[in-house]
């Protein structure tokens, strides 16, 4: 009796200490983000692009329970589809208003989304459906997604070579705001587009029949099937949406970059930040992925005030490890 009460007191003290540590960490993060407002604002925009890729990963995870490693390379393929369109198909055009790109980009973004969506649905039909039919394990599917990722990257390199290329871009002045804050117009465009897509996805998930079927299947696939939902169709929808988001994320990532450079490792290099965002936000939760991506984006950009910018992916990884230490299910993860 005495022993259990003593244990209880100890666990209470521990829980309190853990809470105190989490509050301290949150305050430290705010101070860190406030140290350089310019960088942190950049981080919010960067995070909003990451969010699109991260939501795709988390949607697939919610349904199939495996980590889709090909998401990064789906982004690459989308970005290259846009590159192809901008440089070989659509006419050259002067920069649109304050932006570094011309109107063709507005056509290229939907096309890159369509290209990546077709690729994603193709992956589902050719690889993942067959693996499920064979009752392959979840981790086998993750490895298959690694194989697909390598193949996509190889394809991109075969067609476009490994050299760094650039979207057509003109240099433009940044907007200046009081308090010595400067924002590139491109960043506003990228953030706006990402937000628009996220809201569209939210409406799709909550207001349409397809969205409701997706959520039902994610919650309980057996029950969903029993109530007459065609889970195969739901999966094709989900892959399509994840692909479309990846395509948009890849293209917007190029536009976010000051020099609009594009290279075959573009997407694979983002995998660590992407998965950090997904895991920090609670894997399987699209809203958590969005919030996690903003947190990771701000951490990565704000860290450049203290460490060389090349360390950004390591910073994302570090933030993920620290969050997991205190909250093994992420910040907004509910189910296990």
């Amino acid at each position: 009796m005495q022993l259990t009460s003593k244990l209880r007191i100890e666990s209470q003290t521990l829980a309190r200490a853990a809470w105190a540590a989490q509050v301290a960490l949150a305050l430290a993060f705010l101070a860190f983000a406030a140290a350089n407002v310019n960088l942190s604002i950049n981080g919010l925009f960067h995070g909003s692009v990451l969010a699109l890729g991260a939501i795709g990963i988390t949607l697939i995870y919610g349904l199939l329970r495996f980590a889709n490693i090909a998401q990064g390379d789906m982004m690459t393929l989308g970005a290259y589809a846009a590159f192809f369109l901008l440089t070989s198909v659509l006419p050259e055009s002067a920069g649109l208003g304050p932006f570094t790109f011309g109107f063709p980009l507005l056509i290229a973004i939907p096309v890159s989304m369509a290209a990546a969506a077709v690729l994603a649905v193709g992956m589902e039909l050719l690889v993942f459906r067959r693996l499920r039919r064979r009752r392959a394990s979840i981790v086998t599917m993750a490895i298959a997604s690694l194989g697909v990722a390598i193949a996509i990257r190889g394809f991109v390199q075969m067609v476009w070579d490994t050299q760094v290329r650039y979207f057509p871009n003109e240099s433009r002045a940044h907007y200046s705001f009081p308090g010595d804050v400067h924002i590139a117009p491109n960043h506003l465009f990228v953030g706006g587009a990402a937000l628009l897509l996220a809201v569209a996805l939210h409406l799709l998930l909550t207001r349409t029949k397809h969205g409701k079927a997706m959520r039902a299947t994610s919650d309980n696939p057996d029950l969903a099937r029993a109530s007459g939902i065609d889970t195969n169709r739901v999966l094709i929808w989900t892959w399509g949406i994840a692909g479309a988001l990846a395509g948009a994320a890849g293209t917007l990532l190029v536009v976010f970059n000051a020099t609009s450079q594009i290279k075959p490792s573009l997407g694979f290099q983002m995998l660590v930040p992407l998965f950090a965002a997904v895991i920090v936000g609670g894997i399987g939760n699209p809203y958590g992925a969005f919030a996690g991506a903003l947190l990771i984006g701000v951490s990565m950009e704000a860290s450049t005030a203290f460490v060389p910018p090349t360390y950004k992916p390591a910073v994302a990884f570090g933030v993920m490890v620290v969050v997991l230490l205190f909250r093994p299910r992420g910040l907004f993860g509910s189910r296990d």
């Binding site: 392959a136 490895i143 690694l146 390591a314």
Partner: protein, 376 residues
Amino acid sequence: MAEFLTSFAVLVGVYAVFALGLNVQWGYTGLFNIGVAGFFALGAYAAALLTIRPPLSAQGEDYLFSGDLARRMESIPVIGALDLWFLIALAAAAAAGGAVALAVGAITIRLRDDYLAIATLGIAESVRLVFLNERWLTNGSRGVYTIPPVFEGLVEPHNYDRVYLGIVIVIFAALFCLVRVLLRSPWGRALQAIREDEATAEASGKHVFRFKLQAFTLGAVIMSIGGALFAFNIRAISPQTFTPLLGTFIIWAMLITGGSGRLYGPIVGALVVWGIWSGSQFLPNILDALPAFIGDPLAGVLDALGLPNVRFFAIGVLMTLVLLYAPDGVTPWLSRLRERWARPPPPPTPTLALTSPPPGARSASSFPSHPIVIPA
């Protein structure tokens, strides 16, 4: 040709060591490591930094750190004469990889399977960034290139590759025997029980977390030794050496192709995949030898696509196809061949667990979460 075959065999041996480490982690325990390149680089750099000679001021190098182990140990009897510093460098590499694996594994293995995968990717990326950015330690992107050869005083330089092949074979054989003994011990059977069904292993009193952490660390130690072997082979490394393709992807392709969860999978896979990989450099010559009306267009296509890019694509396709159509890899075919030749057919071996289906064939029901299984 003999030189090509020797250096080919050395790399097969080195890659077989990596695949062996990955087999311990994935093949036997079901731990998903997509950051092999991280341990590869850790081992290579640990061994290199401990043994490189002081920076050459004439070349304008200004990195501060050089272990120069060979010279420091020269005066010690036996060790100095027999170049035993090499073994110390291997041990240091093993310790570096093992320590990192233990630290990161302790945090992430308790969590979901996928988190470990991401954590290993994060380690690989972070390790690469540190080696790239901390110039004082690693000379940044220029890399370290004064790694001394093993048995320098004892072997003539033109024989180095052949002697080194011997060293690689001995070390691979030692690690292979160690893994074989460990996996057939109760410890190894516990790992396979965990791979097959974690909940059941837990229920029968196995400390799943501890076993997984041990297996992860053992695998990482083996990979780091592989990294050290690699470093003493080419004797010049830089962060660009450890690309995801040659550091991680190709090793996965080797293990999957050879057969994961099979004792001989790593060596068979390393031989097959590295054979395809380095054989493909003769593809232009082969196309040249073909009649012009077939060879020329094909050579043109290959030229336009770029051989390295075609190889990259082929590795990904090979991996996916093997997972789809031959999830056990090629090793079962080999053992079937052997059975056909051997008369009478050998009785079923008592080590059932070792020939049980690899993780690829696990039934979906053995997972705690609920995957969608759609009937065909």
